[in-house]
Structures are given as structure tokens and as C-alpha cells.
Symmetry: C2
Subunit: 226 residues, 2 copies
């Protein structure tokens, strides 16, 4: 869908100075991580980013626009590559997720999902975009694995993605601060554990070295939402 | 540990009027769900709850105390009963979690975990209590299942609880608002899917009807929804 390839809210014109853009978006994420939607003001972001309010409003006419741009800037790495192995695809996805959640603005995206439930009229549209990207990305990975016979045809793509991302999010939210640095330095064991749990949990038929490259392409995609 | 059985922050004296107590805690959760820690003030809670600030400060001298009491009031149902079947224990746990997250203050506990990462000095202690209760409750269930042979001895209790709770949280955060009511009315299919995924994912050896209490261990403990 074309709508999915660009952020949902129109931004007036192209950004004139990418450096200011990125500084402001980073300031916006910092402010947002601290205060959430209720405290997210153009004033606070302008002050934190060291830019004038006029420059801010020129780029993002409303705080919704600024919020949407900031949240979308967290998702810079493009769609996950489908490698030919569900094991590798999920490992790649899990690594991205853990890097994002443990990154400098890791709490912003979780807070945004919470705020979207509390302020659906104001934030629903911006977050629908994030939700849809997540769901569509996961669905592609899962459907490719169903096509190649690595997964049974009745698996639920959203269940797989909820399990993968949710387990990581929950661990990061509950880990004591004293052990957070250790996880950030060495996330591989957790990623391997979680990918293994999810693959076994959904009846994965592949092996770590499975390749999907020569699988039949005429098969209808039958994965259905659970 | 005795420390785990009571909230960590001392409350001065017993509450004098339980009805005011519960009204204030509900107002506190409402305010907190909307504005998070940055906007959580005694003033806002007093106004929302329709009580004087003096009454509020008498019960909870600081906003940390009020926050801790409010968050802990979400966990009213006591420890999960160990029924003799891991399948039933996890189903019971999942039902409680989904009821809490879909309940009137469902976003408060997720927001609190996010805020504890942003304001560790102010909220770390209150949230450690919540984290520890979750971890200890899950560990008991898992260790009982290891004892009975339902689970291999090398499973990670925290991985199981992260997967169970995290999958549910992620689904609830990502579900479109249009489908939320449907999930609230009929959570059983999702609970069954998630419990099944987690059990298969960790190499569960039991069956749905497995009981762990075959040899006369006093009174047989039966399942009951908490």
C-alpha cells in the first residue's frame, strides 16, 4: 500500500536543513520520553533542541506532526530482509527490536503505544502507521516461511510477532537497572533464547540452516490471522 | 522474604476511611494513566478524587507514596494458586494479566514500567516491588512444574513469564481500538493461543489434564480462578 511507505501526516515542503531536522527530532524524542503526550509541547522541544519556535512550526505545524515525525524517525532501517530462513529473519528482527528498545530513545516507542490508547483521537493516526508497519513486516516474514513449509499454514503472523517483540519488551521493562548494561553489551543470548522459544512455540519445521530459495512459488498463501 | 509481602514505602498509620482510600487510589490511577510521572501531582489527584489536599497528605506524605500505593492497588488478587497443572497455572496467570491490562487502569502499570526506566531514582523502589512480585510468582509456578517433570530442569522462569506477559501486553498495545472491545468480551482464544505457544516453546512435557498432586501430599490443591 502506498500509504504505508510514507508517514501519514503531510509535512509542508521538504525540510530545509537536515541537521536541524535531526537535532529537533532527537530533542523531541528526549522530551517525549520524559513527559509523554500530556507534557509534549512545541515550547519544550524548541528549548531542548536549541531552535526557535518559528523554525519548529515551519517544519511541523502541530505537535501531532512533530510527534509523528519523531516516532517515525525511530524506524530508520527499512524493512527486514527476507533471507530464506525463518530463523535468520526472526533473529534479524529481534536484534533490531532490542537495539531500538535499549537505544537512547528506547522508551519513547513503548510510551507512544501507551499514549495512543489513552489519547486515541490525537495519536491514533500516527500510531496506526507504526502498528501497520510492524504487522506488515512480520506478516511477510511469516508468509514466506509458510510458503517454504517451515511453518504450518495455520499459524498466526501477529501471534508470532507479538511473542517475539513482546517477550523482548517485557524483559527490557522488567530487568533491574543494574543488569541493563550487561544486556545491552551482550544481547545475543537473550535473542537466541527468544527466537528459539517462538520457533518451537509455533511448530517450526525448519533447521537453523534451512533455506527457502527453491520452494514452490505457485502455492497460495494461506496463513490466516488467529 | 518479608519485604516482598508488603509495599516498600511506609504508609503512616492505617487508612482511616477505606472508601476515601479506594476513591483516591482510583483517581490517582486515572490521573497517572493520562499524564505519567512527569504530570502526577498531589493537586491533580486531590481534584480528580474530590478530596482535600490535607487528607491526601495525611495518608501519603509524598507523591512517591501515593504512586506506590496506587500501582500496588492494581495487584489485589494475591498470589496465583499452584493448581497441580502448569497448563492451568499459566492460563490462570494469563487471565489475570489480560483482565488487568484491559481493565480501567490497564495502561497505568505499563506506563509505570516505562517511567521507572526514565526516573529510576524516584520510582525504582516502588517498581522493584512490582517486578519482584511478578518474578517470584512466576518462579514458583515454573519450579513446581520442573519438580513434577512437566518442564525440563534448565528452563528459565523469567523467560516463561516474559513470553506469557509480554505477548499479551504487545497484543493489547497493538490491537486496533475497533477490535479491543471484542478481545475484552472474549479473551479466551488469545489466552489459549499464548499459553499453547509458551508451553510448546519451552518444551512442556505435560498434557492439559496433567496433575502434579498424585501422591498424597496433604490436601489436593484444585484450580480456582483468582
Amino acid at each position: 500500500m502506498a500509504r504505508m511507505s510514507t508517514p501519514p501526516r503531510g509535512r509542508p515542503g521538504r525540510p530545509v536543513d537536515p541537521e536541524i531536522d535531526s537535532r529537533v527530532l532527537s530533542a523531541a524524542l528526549e522530551v517525549y520520553s520524559e513527559v509523554g503526550w500530556a507534557g509534549f509541547t512545541m515550547n519544550a522541544v524548541a528549548r531542548r533542541g536549541g531552535v526557535g519556535k518559528a523554525a519548529l512550526y515551519r517544519r511541523w505545524p502541530t505537535r501531532q506532526d512533530l510527534f509523528a515525525a519523531a516516532i517515525n524517525s525511530l524506524r530508520t532501517s527499512g524493512p527486514v530482509e527476507i533471507t530464506g530462513s525463518l530463523y535468520r529473519d526472526l533473529t534479524q528482527t529481534a536484534n533490531r527490536l532490542i537495539n531500538r528498545f535499549l537505544g537512547p530513545h528506547g522508551m519513547a516507542s513503548i510510551r507512544a503505544l501507551v499514549d495512543a490508547k489513552i489519547y486515541p483521537d490525537e495519536l491514533g493516526e500516527a500510531l496506526d502507521y507504526v502498528r501497520q508497519s510492524t504487522i506488515i513486516g512480520g506478516r511477510k516474514i511469516v508468509l514466506a516461511a509458510v510458503d517454504s513449509g517451515e511453518l504450518p499454514p495455520d499459524v498466526s503472523p501477529s501471534l508470532i510477532m507479538d511473542a517475539l517483540a513482546g517477550t523482548l519488551v517485557h524483559r527490557i521493562l522488567l530487568i533491574p537497572d543494574t543488569r541493563r548494561a550487561q544486556l545491552a553489551a551482550n544481547p545475543e543470548p537473550l535473542v537466541a533464547q527468544v527466537v528459539d522459544l517462538v520457533l518451537r512455540g509455533v511448530g517450526w519445521q525448519g533447521t537453523v540452516s534451512t533455506r527457502r530459495t527453491e520452494s514452490g512459488s505457485g502455492e497460495p498463501r494461506t496463513a490466516s490471522e488467529g
